[in-house]
């Protein structure tokens, strides 16, 4: 049973406050992904769990035991580094066996375990090679193998796929997911790639500037982002934001800006009432916009002018100008339109998001 609990974790580097009041319960067998922009404190958090970095304040426990003062070797964890950190002077076999040798395992046990791990990862024929004779993907596998031979309580990954090319990254992502399903070991994974976060994580922790913004299952983050930052970070292409003023009209609410007159759908009216006559940020994802047809109510559609057309095959991304702002819409691949043409777009009322203009929290 290896749950990992972070309680009020803080980290200061001299004057830099890198990690701020992080609280998190990682359940046994769970795959948790930390995601956020560069410098948000993901790596620092991971290194504190590993014991490579001292905790400034707070408690970390692994499997019920507080590990604040435990050396990395006594925490029963394994870590995969971004640059793999394979021992360059050792063969693949010795790389994988090193941790077991240090822990004084039997020779025969070491051989069994390394071979088993090599089987799982499909690297049996590489065991005699040196790291420099391996491709990036193979090194990645060896680094994974070195982590799994020890049967640790927790796996820690720091952007393990970021040095691979796009195609290999997708492939390794799938393999990592399979590996986790097979081994069921608790895993903490750091990445700045939201696609990796969404596809790998049982739960995702979004961080910014050392603060945890939101913790939740991938779809929860996608559908109910807690604030504007999460809304903009999760999903690709990113959510469109525009500043609107919410006004009361005909007993209902309307969100108005230069190019739009959106009637606030009924399920949001109660929540937006307190913000009447204030500025707010309206968020709508590109995939929740479509080309309007005659039957769309005027209160859920708006006029726009096409500026850029990006053909992706499965969809078309349109950069459009609305009033004095721009938006991205993902429309049907069969849509015919031209640059500078005007186009009426309709939005899915169920998927409108409103954020407080000042606090940026979702309403």
């Amino acid at each position: 049973m290896a749950q990992v609990v972070l309680k009020q974790i803080n980290k200061f580097y001299d004057s830099v406050h890198a990690v701020k009041d992080v609280n998190l319960q990682i359940r046994d067998k769970e795959f948790v992904v930390f995601v956020g922009p560069s410098g948000c404190g993901k790596t620092t958090t991971l290194r504190m769990i590993a014991g490579l970095e001292a905790i400034s304040s707070g408690d970390i426990s692994i499997g019920g035991q507080v590990v604040n003062e435990l050396a990395p070797m006594d925490r029963d964890i394994a870590m995969v580094f971004q640059n793999y950190a394979l021992y360059p002077h050792m063969s693949v076999f010795d790389n994988m066996a090193f941790g077991l040798k240090m822990r004084k395992f039997d020779k025969s046990e070491i051989v069994t375990r390394v071979n088993h791990a090599a089987d799982i990862l499909g690297i049996q024929e590489l065991l005699k090679r040196k790291p420099r004779q391996l491709s990036g993907g193979q090194r990645q596998r060896v680094a994974l193998g070195r982590a799994i031979v020890r049967h640790p309580q927790v796996f820690l990954f720091d952007e393990p796929l970021s040095n691979l090319d796009a195609k290999l990254r997708v492939q390794m992502r799938v393999e990592l997911k399979k590996l986790h399903q097979r081994l069921g070991t608790t895993a903490v994974y750091v990445t700045h790639d939201q696609v990796e976060a969404m596809t790998l994580g049982d739960r995702v922790v979004v961080m910014k500037d050392g603060w945890v913004q939101q913790v939740g299952e991938p779809l929860e983050l996608y559908n109910q982002p807690a604030n504007k930052f999460v809304a903009g970070f999760i999903g690709s292409p990113a959510m469109n934001f525009s500043t609107v003023t919410v006004t009361e009209r005909d007993g209902g609410l309307t969100a108005v800006n230069g190019g739009m007159n959106i009637v606030v759908p009924p399920h949001l009216v109660d929540r937006l009432k307190p913000h009447a006559n204030q500025q707010m940020t309206l968020g709508i994802r590109p995939e929740d916009l479509r080309v309007a047809n005659g039957s769309d109510p005027a209160g859920l559609s708006f006029d726009s002018k096409v500026e850029v057309i990006e053909q992706l095959g499965s969809e078309i991304l349109l950069d459009v100008r609305v009033g004095d702002g721009t938006m991205v819409a993902s429309v049907e691949p069969t849509t015919r339109t031209k640059i500078q043409e005007s186009l009426r777009l309709a939005m899915n009322p169920a998927r409108l998001h409103f954020f407080d203009a000042k606090t940026e929290a979702a309403v």
Binding site: P72, M73, F81, N83, A85, P88, F98, M102, P131, R132
Partner: protein, 283 residues
């Protein structure tokens, strides 16, 4: 690499390289030719009839025989070897440990300590030998190999430390962190991971240290007095130059034989040595 027109490679590459080689190798050539040239040719005046300084038709081993039979050259070689090896070993040991500590352990003043060590390296030997002579006398080490084995590290340790610091800094720290997570103590991580990875750097430091102590002159001149204790550089110059008489043949033969061991050490390690200077470790 594609360089373009042929004449370019000649003008910009081959000819300059050739001139450079000529410039570098000529002294060695002169040394070799003088070692094997009979005395009769050596002391022939420049305007004599058949004067030709660049080669000889009557090579002789007389000078080398003279070195080994009439002087203590073999003893000097042996002394130099022992002293250079011992002081290199001491300096490498200290330099590797100090370099590791200064580059990897975060202790207060690590930075200024590193700079301090470098500054001691900058103090010229021509000044340092004066206080050192005092110490050598007080400990009654004068005229023994120990006077050099123990004083050479005063400049070799800073040198090795500085070189190793740079090298250890280039080794990714994740290697060590990974070893620590894998269950190695700091000592084990250093012994099994960092030092093996740093072998090219250690070899370069060793070769440089060995060469520096092999060629060292001032300390050897000051601290040793009896002929049977001398090292090659001091022995050759003090026993083969009498007043203003230069025994050119044996002198050059001594220089030639004295440089052979260093050349051997170089060529033996050259592969590692080159990679140690030009490349660092890539994860």
């Amino acid at each position: 690499m594609i360089e373009g027109a042929k004449w370019r490679t000649w003008v910009y590459f081959r000819i300059p390289l050739f001139l450079f080689l000529l410039f570098l190798l000529f002294p060695f050539y002169w040394m070799v030719i003088t070692s094997f040239r009979p005395d009769g040719e050596l002391y022939r005046p420049w305007n004599a009839m058949n004067y030709n300084p660049f080669f000889t038709l009557k090579p002789t081993l007389d000078h080398i025989r003279y070195l080994f039979e009439e002087t203590l050259f073999a003893t000097w070689l042996w002394n130099t070897m022992i002293i250079a090896a011992a002081s290199t070993a001491i300096s490498l040991f200290c330099g590797v440990l100090a370099g590791y500590a200064l580059s990897r352990l975060n202790f207060p003043f690590a930075g200024s300590l590193g700079t301090g060590i470098f500054i001691t390296y900058l103090v010229p030997q021509t000044l340092l030998f004066i206080p050192l002579a005092e110490i050598i006398r007080n400990y009654k080490l004068g005229d023994t190999p120990w006077s050099l084995i123990l004083t050479y590290p005063t400049f070799l340790i800073p040198f090795c430390t500085w070189l190793m610091m740079g090298y250890f800094k280039a080794v990714p720290k994740e290697l060590e962190e990974c070893a620590r997570i894998d269950g190695a103590s700091r000592w084990q991580a250093m012994l099994y991971i960092i030092i093996p990875v740093a072998i090219p750097g250690i070899l370069s430091a060793g070769i440089f240290a060995f060469t520096l102590s092999w060629n060292e002159f001032i300390y050897a001149l000051v601290f040793l007095s009896s002929p049977e204790q001398k090292t090659v550089p001091v022995g050759v110059t003090s026993e083969l130059i009498r007043g203003d008489v230069f025994f050119w043949g044996p002198l050059m033969a001594g220089a030639l034989l004295g440089s052979i061991p260093v050349a051997l050490v170089y060529s033996f390690f050259v592969e590692h040595y080159v990679s140690g200077l030009t490349g660092s470790v890539k994860g």
